[in-house]
């Protein structure tokens, strides 16, 4: 039941990405092209999504726990650190180059287009590289602490 619920949730998300136009990199890049062929549609996507989520979350949180889990999992970190800023800045650069973000790329991948496959493959490689880099940084930090 839990997994059927998750599949349906994924479908609703994918339909939203499709209907909204987020699935189309040309539209996404035009949103950012204020000085050229500007298309403000994406502001409406963000508006609709945030309005629904803002009020929906507050309704959901009135319950003691979710339907299929023992508790609500809230992100634990609240630190605004260098990693957050550098990571977000890089994400924006990549988004501006390719026109796909992770949430739009997955439904787009469902169309089977080779260029989307290319993007998603590179993105997953990038995620893997970041994991290796972080493990390496954490390890060297541990060694430094051990030395001092």
């Amino acid at each position: 039941m839990k997994f059927l619920f998750a599949i349906v949730t994924g479908i609703i998300f994918g339909l939203g990405i499709t209907l909204s136009g987020m699935i189309n990199p040309a539209k996404v890049l035009n949103f950012f092209d204020l000085a050229g062929s500007w298309d403000p549609s994406l502001a409406f996507v963000m508006g609709g999504a945030v309005v629904m989520t803002f009020f929906g979350y507050r309704l959901v949180w009135r319950r003691a726990k979710p339907l299929f889990s023992s508790r609500f999992h809230h992100p634990s970190s609240s630190a605004v650190d260098k990693r957050l800023i550098i990571g977000s800045a890089l994400f924006g650069i990549g988004w501006g180059l390719a026109g796909f973000c992770p949430g739009a790329a997955l439904p787009a991948l469902g169309t089977g287009r080779w260029d989307v496959v290319l993007f998603v493959f590179a993105m997953v490689v990038g995620m893997g590289l970041a994991r290796v880099l972080e493990r390496w940084l954490n390890a060297s930090r541990l060694i430094e602490t051990a030395d001092s």
């Binding site: 839990k2 998750a6 349906v8 949730t9 479908i11 609703i12 998300f13 994918g14 939203g16 990405i17 499709t18 209907l19 136009g21 987020m22 699935i23 189309n24 035009n30 000085a35 549609s41 996507v45 963000m46 508006g47 609709g48 945030v50 629904m52 989520t53 929906g56 726990k65 979710p66 609500f72 999992h73 809230h74 605004v80 800023i85 550098i86 977000s88 800045a89 890089l90 994400f91 924006g92 650069i93 988004w95 501006g96 180059l97 390719a98 026109g99 796909f100 992770p102 949430g103 997955l106 787009a108 169309t111 260029d115 989307v116 590179a122 997953v124 990038g126 995620m127 893997g128 880099l133």
Partner: protein, 143 residues
């Protein structure tokens, strides 16, 4: 390439994206962040962490086929950049979203709705660098 301004379809699609985020919180108590879902799906540490993310990925992947079955045509996807830029952009998106722990869905939709301090910083940062990148690539370099 000019694209048509679609305020109603975009707002409606946004509501659906928000609905999915609310449902995931109501059902599994999780944030709908595409970065964490993809990363947790591909680099899963445990079967329990993998399974619900795999179900979400399956749902997201079949959505355009459902659109095709009901409307008789695939959603419009125009990629106005070269394959090389897709690969470079993809790599940077993967690294950036991992370091920053989120993207448009996790920080943008869910984080802003939670009034997360981290997301309130992350979103303006990535929206700005995206706009600057598009400006440079289209109007300075003229690519």
């Amino acid at each position: 390439m000019v694209t048509e301004f679609t305020p109603w379809a975009s707002f409606g699609g946004g509501l659906l994206i928000g609905l999915a985020a609310v449902l995931l919180m109501a059902g599994l108590g999780r944030i709908f962040g595409a970065t964490g879902i993809v990363s947790g799906f591909v680099f899963a540490d445990s079967r329990e962490e993998f399974a619900w993310r795999a179900a979400l990925v399956v749902g997201m992947l079949i959505a355009p086929a459902l659109v095709f079955l009901t409307r008789g045509q695939w959603p419009t996807i125009d990629v106005p950049v070269s394959p090389l830029l897709l690969v470079v952009g993809g790599l940077i998106v993967g690294i950036g979203t991992s370091l920053g722990s989120g993207c448009t869905s996790g920080h943008g939709v869910c984080g802003l709705s939670r009034l997360s301090g981290r997301s309130l910083v992350a979103v303006p940062v990535f929206m700005t660098t995206a706009a600057v990148t598009v400006y440079i690539s289209r109007h300075v370099l003229g690519a």
